[in-house]
């Protein structure tokens, strides 16, 4: 269990995390979502005792990380920034980490095999690709066989095979009943693995909810876009119980509460000409953006599904 209690972290003038409170429940995968720069990494650094919070506190299993007698057995962490000496081999890096806890070399060998780095373990980590570096970071996190894992953007820099690998690894870890706290700026990635979601933007808590709830919200926002020269007529036909119709521009209607088939049928019944009929399947990404919209000041054309496929990179 990880508890964040009114944590604020300022770097000079900049407020990276602003009065953040949430709990990572044991035994499930909790996703930590937010656009880049939202304060996810800072929050994780505070949990891991690397950064001292300006105010508030963070505890792991009831204790500040710095007071854990054997932290690598409690928490395994992969940070977004590299945390490996480039001149040392992967094997020696892991041995040095393991020795701080009296963990034997056989375990080092095991985690190397677990992440698939056996062939390059004796090579200098400085020559590793981003993906190999991530695997080494995960190996280090697994050294103490911890019940809790904190992973900052673990899929970063991985190729498709690597992303599949990390997804399966996370599922396996969750199935073993481990607590996983996982950050990402990609909702789709998160929906695959996480059960609970903590969403932040500009260092503030936006949502602390379940994936199921977000999905429900997403389907609520589903819409059908209709382009018709008889927009006024169609609007009158469609509007009714549980159906709302908005118009962002002339001849274009955004219909909520009906499927595209229903809209098409109604238009045909009233002999209304349609130029376009586009079902807009609201995705998790949209639901996520609905949540973070204010925090990232994202105001792109909401009708363009291409744009909504990705999440803004900058806050």
């Amino acid at each position: 269990m990880i508890e964040i209690d009114h944590v604020t972290k300022r770097y000079g003038e900049k407020v990276a995390v602003d009065d953040l409170t949430f709990t990572v429940k044991p035994g499930i995968v909790t996703g930590f979502l937010g656009p880049n720069g939202a304060g996810k990494s800072t929050t994780m650094r505070v949990i891991l005792g690397l950064d001292r919070p300006t105010a508030g506190s963070a505890t792991v299993n009831g204790k500040p990380y710095s007071e854990l007698p054997a932290p690598l057995h409690d928490v395994g962490a992969l940070l977004e920034a590299r945390a490996i000496h480039t001149g040392r081999s992967a094997y020696n890096h892991l041995v040095a980490m393991a020795q701080t806890h009296g963990i034997g070399r056989s375990r080092v060998q095991e985690v190397i095999e677990l992440v698939g780095l056996s062939e390059v373990a004796r090579k200098r980590a400085g020559g590793f690709s981003l993906g190999m570096g991530q695997r080494l970071g995960i190996a280090a996190a697994m050294l103490g066989d911890p019940a809790t894992l904190i992973l900052d953007e673990p899929a970063n820099g991985l190729d498709p095979e690597g992303i599949l690998w990390i997804r399966n690894l996370l599922k396996g870890l969750a199935a073993e009943g481990r607590t996983v706290f996982l950050s990402s700026h990609l909702m789709a990635e998160m929906a695959q693995t996480a059960e609970h979601l903590v969403v932040i933007g500009r260092g503030r808590l936006i949502a602390d909810t379940t994936v199921a709830e977000i999905v429900a919200q997403a389907s609520q926002n589903a819409a059908v876009i209709v382009r018709t020269p008889q927009a006024g007529e169609l609007r009158d036909v469609l509007v009714g119980d549980g159906v709302t119709v908005k118009s962002a521009e002339r001849e274009v209607l955004e219909v909520h509460g009906l499927t595209s088939a229903e809209v098409g049928a109604a238009a045909a019944a009233h002999q209304i000409v349609l130029h376009e009929l586009i079902p807009q399947n609201a995705s998790l990404e949209e639901a996520f953006m609905g949540l973070t919209g204010g925090a990232v000041e994202y105001h792109a054309g909401a009708l363009d599904p291409q744009l909504v496929d990705s999440i803004p990179e900058a806050a």
Binding site: R45, L48, G49, L50, D51, R52, Y65, S66, P69, A70, P71, L72, H73, A77, L79, A81, R82, A83, I84, H85, G87, R88, S89, N92, H93, V95, A96, M97, Q99, T100, H101, G102, I103, G104, R107, E110, E113, L114, V115, G116, L117, S118, E119, V120, S129, G131, M132, A140, M142, L143, D145, D159, E161, G162, W165, N168, L169, G172, L173, A175
Partner: protein, 278 residues
């Protein structure tokens, strides 16, 4: 990624030994860290060769030109000072390595792994200091002894040799190793305060080698009263058998002062490590 074997998809849960973070465990870790870097091994080898080899080289040259030396130089020739002369070169390698022991972790990000494994932080600093100090002292003492006996053998031809039992001989030979060891510790401290390789090395070179130069351009009365207290001058009293001027502190007083400077640097590093974000 092509070089990577296809990984298994589910981890095997293994009952790891329930080890705790202890100072002894952290010492083992730092021992591994020190020797697993090629740069460390080369630096230590370079300082060993410098400490063991420079004295005999200089002695051999002096002996071959013995008859051209000024009579005063011949009369005051100190084969023990020659024997430990290698420290003039070794100090650079040891100092740079001392800075790198810490700043190398900051420049690569390794410090985050170190602090996550040992979140109380200070055991890492103590372990780094102890491992580096022991390695430096043992290597430099061996090198210093090699140089001593080699130099004495070389200078026998002009009968200016000393025995290891002569007054001050053993103290000077051990003193050179002590000086280099404490110098290394001071540089670990400077690295810990500055967290930056270039800054750490510049400060080390500035304090030890530039300050005496600045002092030397001051009026000689001022210089004479300041220079004995400058770090390098205070430090090298213990590694000197005879002195070419009278403005120096007593042997152990000078070394104690240098140890005091080192304690300040290390204390600064400890406070910085505890207080600042990693």
């Amino acid at each position: 990624m092509s070089a990577v074997a296809s990984p298994q998809t589910t981890p095997t849960r293994v009952g790891s030994p329930a080890g705790r973070v202890t100072q002894a465990n952290v010492l083992r870790s730092e021992w591994t860290k020190l020797w697993s870097l090629r740069s460390t091994r080369w630096s230590l080898l370079a300082s060993f060769i410098a400490m063991a080899g420079l004295g005999p080289l200089v002695a051999a040259v002096q002996m071959s030109r013995w008859n051209q030396l000024h009579p005063h130089d011949r009369a005051t020739y100190d084969a023990i000072n020659t024997a430990v002369g290698g420290y003039h070169l070794a100090q650079l390698a040891i100092g740079v390595l001392g800075v790198l022991v810490i700043t190398g972790e900051y420049s690569t990000g390794m410090i985050r792994s170190s602090m996550m494994a040992v979140p109380r932080r200070l055991p890492v600093l103590w372990a780094k200091l102890l491992v580096f100090a022991v390695v430096t002292f043992v290597l430099m003492l061996i090198a210093s002894l090699i140089s001593f006996f080699a130099v004495q053998a070389i200078v026998t031809q002009h009968h200016v040799q000393h025995g290891i039992g002569d007054p001050g001989a053993l103290r000077t030979v051990i003193g050179a190793a002590l000086f280099l060891t404490v110098l290394g510790a001071m540089c670990v401290g400077l690295g810990g305060i500055l967290r930056n390789t270039a800054g750490g090395i510049a400060t080390f070179v500035g304090l030890l080698f530039v300050l005496p130069g600045i002092s030397a351009i001051l009026p000689s009365s001022v210089n004479d009263s300041i220079s004995p207290y400058l770090p390098l001058n205070a430090a090298t009293t213990v590694a000197s058998h005879s002195f070419d001027n009278s403005h120096h502190l007593a042997v152990w007083a000078g070394f104690a002062l240098f140890c005091g400077y080192t304690v300040l640097a290390v204390a600064g590093a400890a406070v910085s490590l505890r207080r600042r974000d990693a």
